[in-house]
C-alpha cells in the first residue's frame, strides 16, 4: 500500500524526530526521565489525601481506583497537549522541506506513550501492593491502550490543525480538559447517579477507557462486546476526522504559520 511505503521511506526521519523530542523534553532538568514517573505519583498522593482524608470517599481499593483514572487521563492530557503544538513548533521545517506533516504529531505521541508505559509499570506495582489478584485478563488491557493511542492521535490531528489556524484553541482546550477531568469519574463513583445520568457518562471516551481499566483490574470482568465496539468507535471516529482535516487542509498550513 502506498501509505506503508511512505511510512517506510520516512522511518529514519521518524526515529530522529522521536529522539529529538525526547532529548529536548528533559534537557536541563534535574531528574530527567525520572520525572515522568514521579509526577503522576505525586499527583496521585495529593488526590488520595484530599479525597480520603478531607472529603471522605469510601470506595474500595481507592488508591488503585484513583490511579486508573489518573493514569489514563494524564496520558490523554499530555498526549493531546503536546500534539496540539507539534505542527506549529515544527513550522520552520515543513515550510522549507517536504516532509509529511503528520510525522511531527506521531513522534510527539511516542514520547507520551513511553511515559505512559513507565507510569503503567508503577501502576501495576500499586495493584500488586494493594493485594489485587493479577489474572490473564490483564492482557486485555492492551485493547484500551491501543484505542487510546489511536484516539490521542486523532484528537492530536484535529487540535494541531486547529491550533495553526486559531491560536486560542490552546486556552479553550485547557478549560475543556479541566471539564473533562471532572466528568470522567476519576475520583468519584457514578453509582450515585440515576441510570440516565450513568448512561450519559458513556459519551465521554476517557471515562470509557478508565472504566475498562477498572473493570478488568478491580472487578476482574471483561467488558461486553458493545463496550469494546464503542471504545473502538470513538478512537476510529476521532482518527478519521483528524485525518480528513489534515488531508483537506494540508496545503493551507504553511500560509498561517
Amino acid at each position: 500500500m502506498e501509505i506503508v511505503q511512505k511510512l517506510n521511506k520516512n522511518k529514519f526521519l521518524f526515529q530522529e524526530l522521536v529522539h529529538r523530542d525526547f532529548a529536548k523534553k528533559y534537557k536541563r532538568t534535574m531528574l530527567g526521565i525520572a520525572w515522568s514517573m514521579l509526577s503522576p505519583l505525586l499527583s496521585l498522593l495529593v488526590m488520595r489525601l484530599v479525597f480520603t482524608r478531607l472529603l471522605g470517599s469510601s470506595i474500595e481499593h481507592y488508591t488503585v481506583y484513583l490511579f486508573s483514572g489518573q493514569l489514563i487521563f494524564s496520558f490523554f492530557n499530555d498526549s493531546t497537549n503536546e500534539g496540539m503544538m507539534s505542527l506549529l513548533d515544527n513550522s520552520d521545517i515543513f515550510t522549507k522541506v517536504n516532509v509529511p506533516k503528520y510525522l511531527f504529531l506521531f513522534s510527539r505521541n511516542i514520547s507520551s506513550l513511553i511515559n505512559f508505559g513507565l507510569t503503567m509499570m508503577i501502576y501495576f506495582l500499586f495493584v500488586v501492593a494493594d493485594g489485587i489478584p493479577v489474572t490473564w485478563k490483564y492482557l486485555m488491557l492492551l485493547f484500551p491502550v491501543a484505542c487510546l493511542v489511536i484516539f490521542n492521535l486523532g484528537v492530536g490531528l484535529i487540535l494541531s490543525a486547529l491550533y495553526v489556524f486559531f491560536r486560542d484553541i490552546r486556552y479553550l482546550y485547557s478549560i475543556f480538559t479541566m471539564l473533562l477531568m471532572y466528568l470522567s469519574a476519576i475520583f468519584y463513583s457514578i453509582e450515585d447517579f440515576p441510570q440516565i445520568g450513568r448512561n450519559l457518562f458513556l459519551l465521554n471516551p476517557i471515562y470509557l477507557y478508565i472504566r475498562y481499566f477498572r473493570k478488568i483490574v478491580l472487578e476482574g470482568t471483561v467488558p461486553t462486546l458493545q463496550f469494546h465496539l464503542l471504545a473502538l468507535g470513538y478512537a476510529v471516529a476521532a482518527f478519521a476526522i483528524g485525518a480528513f482535516i489534515y488531508k483537506k487542509k494540508n496545503h493551507s498550513f504553511l500560509y498561517y504559520v
Binding site: K9, L17, R20, V97, N98, Y256
Partner: protein, 648 residues
C-alpha cells in the same frame, strides 16, 4: 532525453484579511464598520516552462518576483492554486540550508536529523557521516550543542550534508554563496560535481555571471508574472539591460487573469445568481406547500396531545422527522414573503398605494372569503362531527371574520398573522431599506432569543427538573419580556421569519458552502431526534414541536438556502411554477380536503407512518385536482386562488 519537469500555468495566490487570519473580534469589528475585505495577492501568476533531463535552469528576477514561491511549488511544499506541475523523478530541494536544526541538540545529532529530513537512510548517514564532518571542518565540535557554532560553521555543516544528495531534480535557492572564500570555492566545485552527474537543476541566484556560466536555460520573473523563458544569452542580456535602465522588453507574457480554471475570489456573477435564486423560489413554495400538508396530515393521524401513540425505534424516528420537516412549511411561506416583498422600495406613495390595492386588499378579501366558505361547509356538512365544533352561528362567523376567534380548520391561526404582516410590509420595508444587514438582524435576534431561547431552554430544563416549567424563566418571559404564550410572541417570531427572508435576499448566508449547510442539516436532524427521544414524554407533559423550537427554525433557514441554490431540471421547473402560482390556494383547500378524508374515509392500516403517507398523497392529489378545476372555472374562483401570484 525526456521531459524531467513541466510547469503548466502555475499560479500561487495568497489570501489575506480573511476570517482565519484576523480572528473573530476583528471580523465582527470590520463587518460592523463595513470594511471587511478579503484580498488576494498573486505571488506566482500563470508561469509555464518545460525542462528536459540534464537541463540547468536559472531563475532571475528582482526581489518579490516570486522565485522562492515557485521553487516551493516545484518542491511540493506549496500547492499551486491554479495549474499543474509534473515531475519525473526524485526531487531534492535545498531551499534554506539553515532550517531544521535544533539548537539544543549536538552537532552530530543535528547532522543525522537534517540528513533524515533530506531523505537519507540511517545506513547512508552512518557511512557518510565522517565525510560530512570532514568536509565541513567541524570534527572538534561534533559533540558540542549546535547553538554554540558560529553562523559560518552552521552554513558549512548544512551545505556539507546537503551536498550528498543525488536526486533526479535538484533545486537550489541561493545556496552557492555560503561561508568564507575558501569554502565557497570548495562548495562551488562540489555543486558542479553534482550537476555534472546529470541532475536536472533549477538555480536561483542574483549573480548573473554564475547563471551565465552554469545554466543553459533562464526564466525571468517579475512580480509573479513570467517575462521570458528560453536561451541563457539573450535573456540575461535583457535582464541586465532592465537592471540598468528599468525598461522591460516588449514581450511580457503570462498573467492570465481570465484563466478559466481559476476560481474567482469574489462572485462577479452576483446578478445571475440572484435571478436563478428567485426562480428557485417556486421550488421553495412547492416545498412549503408539501410541508404544510404533511404536518397537518401528521397531526390528524398521530393526533395531538394525549392521543399520540407510544412510539419506539424506527417509527419514533419517522415521527420526529415528519414533525420536524412539516413545521418548516410555515416558516418557508413567511421567509418567502420577506424575501420577495421586503426588498422593494415603498418610499414612493404610488408604490405603496399599488401594494395595498393589488396585494393587501385581495389577500384580505380572499382570506375573509375562505373563512366564509369554511363556515358554510361546516354548517352544511359537519353538523355532528366533533372536530368542527358543530354548527356555528352567524355571530360566530362575525367573530371569525374579525379574527377574534379561530375555527379549527388547522390553518386559521396563520391568517391573521399573514394579514398583519402584509399590512405592515411597506413600513417595515422602508425602515429596513437603508439599514445595512447587521441592523436588520437585531430584531430577528431579539425575537429569536426570547422566543426560541427561552422556550427551548425552558423545555430543556423542565425535563431535568421533573415536571413543570421553571417558574423563574416563565416569569421572566411573561412579565419582563411579556412575550410568551400570547399572540404577540407568535407575531414576533413570524415577523422575524420575514426579516430573515429579507436577510437571505441580501445574501446573509452567501459565504457558507453547500457542504457546510448539508452537514448542518444532518446535524440538526440527528440532534433533534435524540433530543425528542430523550424528552418526548416527561411526567405526562408531552413535548410539542412548534415553530419556536430552535431546530425547526435553523432547519428552515438552512433548507431555504440550500433549495435556492439547487438547480432544478427544466421539466420540474414548469410544474413547480404552476403549483407555486396557486400556493395560497393550496393552503386553503388542503384543509378542507384533509378534514373530509380524515372524517369520512377510514383507511387505517394501524401503522401511523403508512397512514400518514397515504393521507398525505391523497390530500395532495385531490387538492391539486381541485385547484386545477378551479383554475379552469372563470373569475371568482380564480380570484380566490391567485392571491399568491402577487408575491412574484
Amino acid at each position: 532525453m525526456g521531459t524531467a519537469l513541466k510547469a503548466d500555468n502555475v499560479s500561487i495566490r495568497y489570501i489575506t484579511g480573511d476570517f482565519k487570519e484576523i480572528g473573530i473580534k476583528e471580523y465582527f469589528v470590520r463587518k460592523l464598520k463595513g470594511d471587511y475585505k478579503v484580498e488576494e495577492f498573486q505571488a506566482v501568476d500563470h508561469v509555464s516552462f518545460e525542462l528536459d533531463k540534464g537541463d540547468m535552469l536559472g531563475i532571475v528576477g528582482t526581489n518579490g518576483a516570486g522565485k522562492s514561491t515557485l521553487l516551493k511549488a516545484v518542491a511540493g511544499i506549496m500547492e499551486p492554486t491554479c495549474g499543474k506541475i509534473t515531475c519525473n523523478g526524485e526531487i531534492a530541494a535545498l531551499l534554506e540550508l539553515g532550517s531544521g536544526f535544533d539548537g539544543d541538540l549536538t552537532v552530530k545529532e543535528n547532522a543525522y536529523l537534517r540528513g533524515a529530513m533530506l531523505g537519507y537512510t540511517k545506513e547512508f548517514m552512518d557511512s557518510t557521516y565522517d565525510m560530512i564532518i570532514e568536509f565541513a571542518e567541524l570534527r572538534e565540535f561534533e559533540d558540542r550543542p549546535f547553538k554554540q557554532l558560529s553562523s559560518g560553521m552552521k552554513s558549512r555543516l548544512a551545505f556539507s550534508i546537503a551536498s550528498l544528495v543525488d536526486p533526479d531534480i535538484l533545486i537550489l535557492d541561493e545556496v552557492l554563496s555560503v561561508g568564507d572564500g575558501a569554502f565557497q570555492e570548495k562548495s562551488a566545485a562540489k555543486m558542479r560535481e553534482i550537476i555534472s552527474r546529470g541532475a536536472t537543476t533549477i538555480l536561483v541566484s542574483h549573480s548573473i555571471t554564475q547563471i551565465r556560466e552554469l545554466c543553459n536555460k533562464v526564466l525571468w520573473l517579475d512580480h509573479g508574472k513570467q517575462v521570458a523563458f528560453g536561451e541563457t544569452q539573450s535573456i540575461c542580456d535583457g535582464y541586465e539591460e532592465y537592471l540598468k535602465t528599468g525598461v522591460m522588453p516588449q514581450n511580457i507574457d503570462g498573467g492570465g487573469y481570465n484563466c478559466s480554471q481559476c476560481e474567482p475570489l469574489t462572485e462577479k456573477s452576483a446578478q445571475n445568481t440572484e435571478k436563478s435564486r428567485i426562480s428557485q423560489l417556486d421550488i421553495v413554495r412547492v416545498f412549503a406547500i408539501l410541508m404544510v400538508i404533511l404536518i397537518h396530515t401528521a397531526e390528524g393521524i398521530y393526533g395531538t396531545g394525549e392521543w399520540v401513540p407510544e412510539l419506539t425505534g424506527m417509527s419514533f424516528i419517522v415521527y420526529s422527522l415528519i414533525k420536524l420537516f412539516g413545521r418548516v412549511g410555515v416558516p418557508f411561506f413567511l421567509m418567502l414573503t420577506g424575501y420577495l416583498l421586503l426588498d422593494r422600495d415603498y418610499s414612493d406613495s404610488a408604490m405603496t398605494g399599488k401594494f395595498y390595492k393589488r396585494r393587501f386588499l385581495p389577500m384580505l378579501l380572499a382570506c375573509e372569503l375562505w373563512i366564509v366558505i369554511y363556515w358554510v361547509l361546516q354548517r352544511l356538512l359537519f353538523v355532528d362531527k366533533l372536530w368542527f365544533g358543530g354548527a356555528q352561528s352567524v355571530s360566530t362567523l362575525l367573530r371569525y371574520l374579525t379574527f377574534q376567534d379561530r375555527n379549527d380548520w388547522q390553518i386559521s391561526w396563520y391568517i391573521p398573522v399573514l394579514i398583519l404582516l402584509y399590512l405592515f410590509i411597506p413600513f417595515i420595508a422602508n425602515g429596513m431599506r437603508s439599514m445595512p444587514k447587521r441592523y436588520i438582524a437585531i430584531p430577528v435576534i431579539w425575537f429569536s432569543v426570547q422566543e426560541i431561547g427561552f422556550w427551548t431552554l425552558n423545555s430543556f430544563f423542565s425535563c431535568f427538573f421533573r415536571g413543570s416549567y421553571i417558574p423563574a424563566v416563565q416569569y421572566l418571559s411573561n412579565t419582563i419580556l411579556r412575550f410568551r404564550t400570547d399572540n404577540y410572541g407568535i407575531i414576533g417570531i413570524y415577523f422575524s421569519f420575514a426579516l430573515v427572508g429579507l436577510l437571505m435576499r441580501k445574501g446573509m448566508l452567501k459565504g457558507i458552502g453547500k457542504r457546510t449547510l448539508l452537514a448542518a442539516m444532518g446535524l440538526i436532524l440527528i440532534t433533534s431526534v435524540l433530543w425528542l427521544k430523550a424528552f418526548f414524554r416527561r411526567d405526562g407533559i408531552q413535548y410539542t414541536i412548534w415553530y419556536e423550537w430552535a431546530p425547526v427554525d435553523i432547519l428552515a433557514v438552512v433548507m431555504f438556502e440550500l433549495i435556492t441554490r439547487m438547480k432544478a431540471p427544466a421539466r420540474w421547473a414548469s410544474v413547480a411554477a404552476w403549483m407555486s402560482k396557486y400556493g395560497l390556494g393550496y393552503f386553503f383547500i388542503h384543509g378542507i380536503v384533509l378534514n373530509l378524508l380524515l372524517a369520512y374515509i377510514p383507511i387505517r392500516t394501524g401503522i401511523c407512518s403508512v397512514d400518514t403517507a397515504v393521507y398525505f398523497l391523497a390530500t395532495f392529489v385531490i387538492s391539486t385536482g381541485a385547484i386545477f378545476l378551479m383554475s379552469k372555472v372563470p373569475v371568482l374562483s380564480r380570484r380566490l386562488l391567485l392571491i399568491s401570484q402577487g408575491n412574484q
